[in-house]
């Protein structure tokens, strides 16, 4: 019998055939490989959140091998001399151990913390993008709601993680959390004693927070993130208006190879930044805070940045107690209830329902796949600015003791500034943003009608000086170009029109001869560079 020659080149094909025989994947795989994604830098903010989440999970798994969420009282006798001999919980001891006595443990813990902070930050910035460009409109309302849930889950994950090491800061945070639960009318004391298994702090809370932090919350997060990304995939990404871009198509690059390769590189870039931060920038040096003691706290105890707005709202709230006299007894609603239960409640529900609120107000129930420039929807943009200024005042107030200390301002003055600012700044931000939007809109129209400023001043025979404008199209019947606004960037500088030569390539010295500057925009099919000067024409379609 002749031995058959082994054909190495045929192996991948054969293997693929065997796989397809069983799973019939050729057709769906082709669709996935070729799926078109639109490209814009602002579409990549959510990816930062996704990538940091992966890093959080990877580093978090490492930490679980060493961390022991036990409230058992131990006497520290580890590597960190200043704390030796102190009574502390086993949780804090193991957090110290994994920082000092596990090789590379500190890097992992700091990367975990930085990635968690980046995760929430990226979610927030991504939400800004989605909000201000109207990407949440029909048919994407469900994904907007899932996204806002993801923020709150990230918030909970962050808070439970912050509490686990049981150091001075996290214990104080936990104490405040218990006060917040306690303040709920009617059931407050029941909720608190059920969560803490009795009186604060009890013995069991760390175990419960631990399982929530490493299993329950990440589990829900992974499920929701999968749905979130899956819906983006199924519903196809929104895109900016531009030449050839309509509500019914996607203009961009195929997923493989360019888009996928860029995503992979981007992931590595996010990973690199977090590795740098984890190694070079100290975060949460919990050995400096000492173990949690109910009688000890230092000034300038701030939570992680995304909790600071709640700290701020709590600080600004006046001490108004709401007495509720009933025939069965005298009850109270403590002042801490409003800024820490009611406010977050409103902040959860209202933004989640925003797409429907806007739909109801504008009566716009059409499907939108094209994004809007923030200036073109002044009311929404101004609302967003209002919300941001509200949040900013609260967040700054969450650190008003530090500001008061560093800038030598009276602490009480800072509180009052926050109280007044919280009422004054949001409406002001609304008004200013609205006017800026209108101004930008008007300038776009002006450039479309009169052309781009050239910077050339010409003296007319009668002695007047005028600036020469470069019209974007031949003037119509009234002497103005008859261009319609297309919802995308209007060129406002001459070099945007190709009046200047393209930049010379090369870092230290030119690597190629600069090409001749085109005299007039050459007709081009759909080149990516062509978008800037072509979109004006597209407005006439």
């Amino acid at each position: 019998m002749r031995k058959r020659k082994f054909d190495r080149a045929a192996v991948p094909g054969k293997l693929a055939g065997e796989v397809d025989d069983r799973f019939k994947v050729a057709t769906p795989l082709r669709g996935v490989l070729n799926k078109v994604f639109p490209d814009h830098w602002s579409f990549l903010l959510g990816e930062i959140a996704l990538f940091s989440f992966i890093i959080v999970v990877l580093t978090g798994v490492f930490l679980t091998f060493f961390f022991d969420p036990s409230m058992r009282e131990v006497t520290y006798n580890g590597a960190y001399a200043p704390l030796r001999g102190m009574t502390m919980s086993r949780a804090y001891e193991s957090a110290l151990q994994l920082s000092f006595e596990v090789r590379g443990g500190l890097l992992m813990r700091q990367m975990h913390h930085w990635a968690a902070l980046t995760f929430v930050a990226a979610i927030v910035v991504h939400m800004f993008r989605v909000f201000f460009t109207g990407a949440f409109r029909k048919p994407r309302e469900a994904n907007w709601i899932i996204g806002s849930l993801l923020f709150w889950l990230g918030f909970l994950a962050g808070f439970t993680g912050y509490s686990l090491p049981d150091d001075g800061l996290s214990g104080t945070g936990l104490r405040i959390a218990s006060a917040i639960m306690l303040s709920i009318p009617l059931i407050g004391s029941w909720v608190t004693s059920s969560v803490f298994g009795g009186e604060f702090p009890g013995e069991i809370i760390m175990g419960r927070f631990y399982i929530a932090h490493v299993l329950l919350i990440p589990g829900i997060l992974i499920a929701l993130i999968s749905i979130h990304v899956g819906l983006v995939f199924i519903q196809k990404h929104t895109q900016w208006p531009g030449p050839g871009r309509t509500n019914d198509n996607v203009v961009g690059e195929r997923m493989f190879p360019r888009y996928a390769i860029k995503q992979g590189g981007y992931f590595m870039a996010v990973f690199a930044v977090i590795a740098f931060m984890g190694g070079l920038f100290q975060i949460n040096p919990l050995w400096l805070f000492g173990p949690y003691e109910p009688a000890a706290v230092s000034s300038a105890s701030q939570p992680d940045w995304y909790v600071m707005f709640l700290d701020g709202s709590t600080r600004l709230m006046p001490g108004w107690e709401l007495p509720i006299p009933t025939p069965w007894g005298h009850y109270v609603v403590p002042p801490i209830f409003w800024p820490t239960v009611v406010l977050p409640g409103i902040l959860t529900v209202l933004p989640a329902l925003y797409p429907f609120i806007e739909q109801r107000l504008t009566k716009d129930r059409r499907i939108h796949n094209l994004l809007q420039r923030p200036r073109d929807v002044p009311a929404r943009t101004a609302l967003g600015a209002m919300a941001i200024s509200f949040w900013l005042v609260l967040t700054l107030s969450g650190g008003n003791d530090v500001i008061a200390d560093k800038f030598r301002i009276s602490l009480n003055a800072m509180t009052w500034a926050g109280r007044i600012g919280l009422l004054l700044l949001p409406p002001l931000a609304y008004y200013i943003t609205y006017r800026i939007c209108l101004g930008l809109q008007q300038h776009d129209r002006e450039v479309l009608a009169h052309g781009v400023e050239t910077g050339i001043i010409r003296r007319l025979p009668d002695g007047r000086f005028v600036e020469v404008h470069q019209p974007l199209a031949a003037p119509g019947h009234d002497g103005h170009a008859d261009l319609e606004y297309s919802g995308w960037v209007v060129p406002k500088k001459m070099n945007r029109l190709g009046a200047l030569g393209p930049a010379i390539r090369g870092f230290f010295f030119p690597i190629e001869r600069p090409s001749e500057a085109p005299v007039s925009p050459a007709p081009q099919v759909t080149g990516t560079e062509g978008t800037q000067r072509r979109e004006v024409e597209s407005g006439r379609r």
Partner: protein
């Protein structure tokens, strides 16, 4: 439908055509998914030219940088001194790891990104979205199918089942919830300290019941008792109940601030005490207030001697010690509870009895 078959026919010839290249096949395949590759151009006018070779060298350089940095990481991880407290460069261990790991990943990132952005051909593809829902026909078919499902089950025709099903299932749902709620729920008023009827929620470590019925001593964190002369004028001291585990988290609501007021301030404080019906709650010029803030439970521990204000660093509630520790600024709404103190026959501070007000954050049914 006819356009679909037409296209498939075209595709057949396109794919199996004698001259079709791989790209032709790809392009035809993309068309099946309503994708049109409208622009596809190489980055380089001359394939394999000087510019291209340069980009390739750059990418290779990035990948080699990754390899180098990753090696640095491994070498440092294995041989660099790392134990905390060593003086031979161990403090640089984490920064070196972070920097080399970051550099390795950054090299990888830039290599991949340069590859994608500078080497691959530029392309613009257009895919049809097919916005909106399914066709009227599809909707009708699925709708009828679901409606018939109801008919098949015959819920409408069998009213008994309509009642029996939810009635049967409701308790099952509750069965799932019961252990969770029942197991977690804890009556805040239940745990009574031994020998009394007061629930723990309303008591602290100062309750004489913890001390065999005798008044509890004021002690330092290490358990040593305190004499009046231990606190200088204008000074303050955090004191804990002199019982076993008195300063531990078991009695997290017990820490108390013992303040030695100046005589003039002490007179004011005494007058305020008098107005509130608290005769003899102070001992001489000494006064004791709960350290647990009535707002959120942080220790209100920043005492300003000149103004007799006590500030809580968490949310900046301020309490005026000479006015029964009433809240004068910030979000707290309730004065700090006062501890009635005196000195026992051995000359040490004791609490005459437990706090009469509830310690710490406010809640609905606070008596």
């Amino acid at each position: 439908m006819s356009t679909q078959t037409e296209r498939e026919n075209v595709t057949e010839t396109g794919i199996h055509g004698p001259t079709s290249s791989r790209f032709d096949v790809l392009r035809e395949g993309a068309a099946l998914d309503d994708i049109e590759i409208v622009h596809y151009e190489p980055q380089f006018a001359v394939p394999g030219g000087k510019t291209e070779r340069r980009v390739v060298r750059t990418i290779a350089g990035f990948f080699l940088l990754t390899g180098l940095a990753a090696t640095v990481f491994l070498v440092a991880y294995i041989w660099w001194p790392w134990e905390f407290g060593r003086q031979d460069g161990a403090q640089w261990f984490t920064p070196i790891l972070g920097a080399s790991l970051g550099l390795a990943l950054a090299g990888l990132a830039f290599g991949i990104l340069t590859w994608g952005k500078k080497l691959l051909p530029r392309e613009v593809s257009i895919q049809q979205r097919h916005t909106g829902g399914s066709s009227e026909q599809e909707r009708r078919i699925t709708g009828q199918t679901i409606a018939y499902l109801g008919e098949e089950m015959g819920i409408g025709r069998r009213p008994l089942l309509k009642f029996a099903l939810p009635l049967g299932l409701a308790p099952v749902g509750l069965v799932a919830a019961a252990p969770l709620i029942g197991g977690l729920i804890e009556d805040p008023h239940k745990n009574q300290i031994p020998g009394t009827e007061t629930p723990e929620l309303y008591t602290t470590g100062w309750n004489p019941a913890y001390n065999g019925g005798k008044p509890v001593r004021l002690t330092r964190q290490d358990g040593t008792p305190i004499r009046p002369e231990d606190v200088s004028v204008g000074g303050q001291m955090t004191v804990f109940p002199g019982i076993p585990h008195g300063s531990s988290n078991e009695h997290a609501d017990s820490p108390t601030l013992l303040i030695h007021l100046r005589t003039s301030d002490a007179d004011q404080a005494r007058a305020a005490n008098h107005r509130a019906g608290r005769e003899d709650w102070m001992y001489g010029d000494y006064i004791a207030y709960s350290k647990i803030c009535t707002h959120a439970g942080c220790p209100a521990s920043l005492y300003e001697q000149q103004t007799n204000r006590l500030l809580c660093p968490c949310h900046q509630s301020q309490f005026l010690i000479t006015d029964n520790a009433a809240p004068i600024f910030g979000p707290a709404s309730r004065p700090l509870p006062q501890l009635e103190i005196t000195v026992d026959d051995e000359g040490f501070f004791v609490a005459k009895r437990d706090y009469t007000d509830v310690i710490g954050p406010d809640f609905w049914e606070r008596p």
